[in-house]
C-alpha cells in the first residue's frame, strides 16, 4: 500500500470524541456509528468494528450515552445509543480542547526552523 493509503492510527482519547460526535446528529446503533466514522474519514480510520463497542460501553458507563434495544426496519434487533445531556456537554468541551490543541501543534509544525514565532 502507498504511504498515504495506510490507515491512520487514532490517537487515544479522540475516539471517544468522534463517537460522541457521530451521535450528536441523532441516535444510532453500533454498526451505524462504524459506517458514519468510515464515511466521514474517507476510510482513513482503519478501525476494527469491535473497538467501537468498547468505546460505546465505556461512554455508557460514564453516563455520556444511554442505550436501548429496538427493532430496525429490517426486523433486526439492535441496541441503539443516544447522547445524554452530560454527553453533549462533554462533546462540546472536548471539541474545543481538540481544536485549540491541533491549532497550536499545526502552527509549530509548519513553521520553518529558525523563524521567530508569528
Amino acid at each position: 500500500m502507498k504511504q498515504d493509503d495506510a490507515p491512520l492510527p487514532v490517537l487515544k482519547g479522540t475516539l471517544d470524541m468522534l463517537v460522541l460526535k457521530a451521535l450528536s446528529g441523532g441516535p444510532m446503533h453500533g454498526f451505524g456509528i462504524a459506517l458514519w466514522l468510515e464515511s466521514r474519514s474517507n476510510g482513513t480510520l482503519g478501525l476494527d468494528d469491535s473497538v467501537t463497542y468498547q468505546v460505546l460501553h465505556r461512554l455508557e458507563g460514564r453516563g455520556f450515552v444511554d442505550a436501548q434495544w429496538t427493532m430496525t426496519e429490517n426486523k433486526r434487533r439492535a441496541r441503539v445509543y443516544k447522547l445524554t445531556r452530560a454527553g453533549r456537554a462533554h462533546l462540546a468541551a472536548e471539541t474545543e480542547t481538540w481544536l485549540r490543541y491541533s491549532q497550536y501543534v499545526t502552527a509549530i509544525m509548519v513553521a520553518k526552523p529558525g523563524m521567530a514565532p508569528a
Partner: protein, 888 residues
Amino acid sequence: MHTQVREELDSHIALAVDHLVARGVPRERAEREARARFGDYDTAVGRLYATARERERSVNRREMIDELRQDTRLAFRLFRRSPGFFVGAMLTLAIGIGANGAVFSILQSTLLQPLPYRNPDELVMLRRTNVGEARWPGMGPPGAAGLLTSPMVLGWRREGTGRLGDVATMLMRGNSGLRSVDTQFDLALSDRTIRFDGAFATPNFFDLLGVRAARGRVFTNADESSSDQLILLSDALWRRQFAADPGIVGRPITLTMGLPRVQKTLIVAGILPREFHFTYPDEVEAWVLMRWSDVEQHSPENIAFSAVARLRPGVSIAQAQHRAADLPNGIDRVANAPPQDRLAIGLESMRDWVVGETRPSLQLLGAVAALLLIVTCITVSNGLLARVSERQQELAVRATLGAGRSRLLRQLLTEGALLSTSGALAGTLLAIALQPILRALLPASIPRVGEISVNAYIVAFGAAMAMVTTLLAAVAPAWGGTRFDPTSMLTGAANSASATRSTLRWRHGLVAAQAAIATALLISASLLLTSFWQLGRVPLGFDGDKVVTVELRLLDSKYMISGWMIRRFQEDLVVRVRAIPGIADAGLASTVPFLGFDFPAAIARAGSDKTEMVKNRVVDPGYFRVLRIPPIRGRLLSDTDRDNMPRVTVVSQAYARKAFGTDDPIGQKIGSSPAMEIVGVVGDLHYAGLEHDPTPAIYVPMAQEPRPLFSIVLRTDATVSAASVVPAIRGAIRELDPALPAMDFTTIDQIIDASVANRRFYTVATVSFATIALLLTVVGLIVVVARVVAERRRELAIRAALGATMSILVRVATRDALSAVCIGVAIGLAGAYVGSVVLAQFLFHVAPRSPATYAAVTGLVLGVAALAAWGPVRRFDRTSLAAMLKAE
C-alpha cells in the same frame, strides 16, 4: 451480561451483512467480510464482558453506600426524635465501658502486662523453705518463706546452674518491714543528710534480668575480677539528688553505709532506666556491686540474701522446685531436725512475687466490673427491644414497600452500631478521664501503679466492647423485630400477639438477668461494707489521733561504744522536742503501731522453763502518755525507772492471762539476765493490723534497754497541724547530731488509714458498681412495665370499666415483670451463696452467708422493683382508661 454482549455483537454482524448484501455482495462473501472488518470476536467479547462486570460492581458499591447513608440518616433522625433514649442509652454504655476500661487498665498493667524483663516467665525468686515443702509442695511441713544463706545461693551457683539455670544474688530490704541496716545508705548534702534504700547485687544480676542501663552501663561478669567499687543509681534518685546531671556517670560519690557506719567511695557505673522497679512499692534507689567473692565471705549462718534465677528453657517451676530440693544447703540451722525440715530452696515465679497479696482484690475488682458491663449491655438491649416493638408499624410499611428482611436487619444493626459506637467512644473518653483520678485513689500497695497509663490497650478494649455490645444490643431486637407478619401489622392493631409476646418474654428474661446480677453485686457490696465498718470499730487500744512519728537509727560508731551515748541522745532529744511550741508531749518506742518491726522474744516466768512468745517493745514513759494508754493494774513506766534502778516491765493483758491466768501478775518476775519485775498491766494494742488479733506484749523501759533503732512519737496541741511542727523537729535532731538523717515523718492515723486503703478501694468500687447495677435494673424494669401497660391498654381499660380497683390493675400489669424480678433475685441469691466461698477472704467479722444481709438485700431489690413498677401503672388512672375505651 455475557449473553447481552454477544447479542449486541451478533446484531452488529447481522446488520453489516445486510448492508453488504444490499450493495450486491453475495451473502457468503458478505459474512466473511463483515467478520473480518469486525476484528477478533472472542477478544472483543472478553473485553466488553470485563468492562460490563466492572460497571456492575461499581453500581452495587454505590448502591450499598447509598443504603448505608440512608440507614445512618434514618438512625440519626430516630435518635433525634427521642433524644432522651439515645442519651440515656449512650450514657449507660459509657458507664459500663468506661468503668471496665478503667479497671481493665489497672489489671492490664498489674496482672497481665509482662514484667519489663527479658522472657519474664523464666524468672523465679528464691526463698528459704524446707525439703518437705520443696519436694512435695503443699504436702510437707509449711516452710518459712524468707531469705537465704550464702551456702544456699552458692550451692545453686556451683551445682544448679547447669541443670536449672543462672542465679544472681542480692542483699536487699526484706518484705518484713524491717529496714535492714546494711541496705540504708546516707548521702551527705550541703545542708543535711539524706538516707535512702539501696541494695547489693552480684555482677550478673542485670544481665540475668535483661536490663540495660539508660546511661553508662550495668554490672557485667567482668566486674567480678576488677577491684572498682561500682554503684548504679535509679532514675528517680539521679533526678532528685543529682539534678539529672549526665556527667555523674564515671564519677565517684561518697556514701555512708554498713554497720558500723563507714564512708565508702563508689564510682557511678550508670543510671538505670526509668521503668526499672525491682521492688514494690518502695523503690531501691541504688545498687552496689557485690562480688561473688564477697558473698563467699559472709557467715554461712546469716540469712540475709535474696536471689533470682532464670530457669533454663524447658524447665518448669515444678521441675526446678523438685530438683532444687537436692541442692546443698550448707549448715542446717536446727540440729537433729527430721529430713523434711531441713533447709531447702523454694521457688516462686517472679510474677507471683510482684503481685503478691493484691492479686485477689484485683481479681475481685475485675469480676465486679465485668458484671457491671453485662448489666449495661442488658439494659441497652432492653431499651432497644422496647423501641422495636414501638416501631413495628414503620417496619411493616417498609416491608410491604419492598425492603427485604435482610435490609431491615441491616437497618437495625446500623442503629445498634451507631449507638454502641458512640457509647464506646464516650466510654473510652470516660476511662481516659478517670485515669488520673484512679491513679491518685489507688492504694500504694498495688504494684506497678506507676505503670498504669492510657494506652492502645484501653482503646482497643473499648472498641472490642463496642463490637460485643453491638452484637448483643442489635441482634436481640433485630431478631425479635423482624419476626413479624407485615400484613397483620398493618391491618391489625399494634399488638401482633405472637411477636409482642416473644419480644416481651425476651425482655422479661433480661430483666430477670439484671435483677440477678444486681442482687449478687448488692450482697457482695453490703458484706464488704459491713466488713469495712467492723474494721473501723475495732478498738485500737490506743489513741493515735494527731500523733506524729518519725523513725531514727543511731548507726554511727560513736553510739556503738556503750548504751550511755544512745540514752543521752534520747533524753536530750525528748527534752528538746517537748520544748517545741505546739507539741504537747513526746515519747519514744522501739516500734510504732502498724509500722516497723515488732520484735518477738521468748519470755519465761522466773524459775520456769516454759516460755511464751511475746512482742518485746522498748518504750519510754512518754509513750504511754502520748498514745493515751491507761494502766489497767498497777502503774505505767515512769522516769524513775532508770538504768541504775531495778529492772521493771509492764505487760499486756493478753500476756498476763496467758502466763498467770487469774493470778495477779504484779510483783512477779519474768525473763532472765536480768529478770524483770512486773509493775503494771495495760490493755492489748492492735499493732499488726486491724484484722489481726493483738498478740501478747511486754513493755521495757528505754532507759534500761537502750535501742539504737527507735521512733519518736509526739502529740501536737489541738490546734496545731502535724506538718507545721516537722521543721522544728528536724532542727532539734540536727542540733543533736547533724549527720543523723531522719526518715519520713508521718502520723499514726495516716498509717492506719494506709493499712486499710486497699480494702477501702475495692469496697468503694464494689458498692458503686452494685448501686449502678441496681439503678440500671430499675430503669430496665420501668421500661418493660411501661411497655406492658401500653400494649395491654385495651385489656386494662376493659377491666377498669368492669370495676377493677387500682391495686388489681397494678397486679395484672406488673405481674409478669415482678415475677421476672423475683426469679432474678432468687438466682442472684443462689449465685451469692455459691460465690461466698470466694468472697470470704475479703470479709472481716461478718458471715459470708449472713442471713441478715441476704434478707436485707432481697427486701431492698424487691421493694425498689415494686415501687418502680407501680410508677408506669399509676399514670394510667381509671378515667383515662375509660376515655380510651370510649374512643375505641
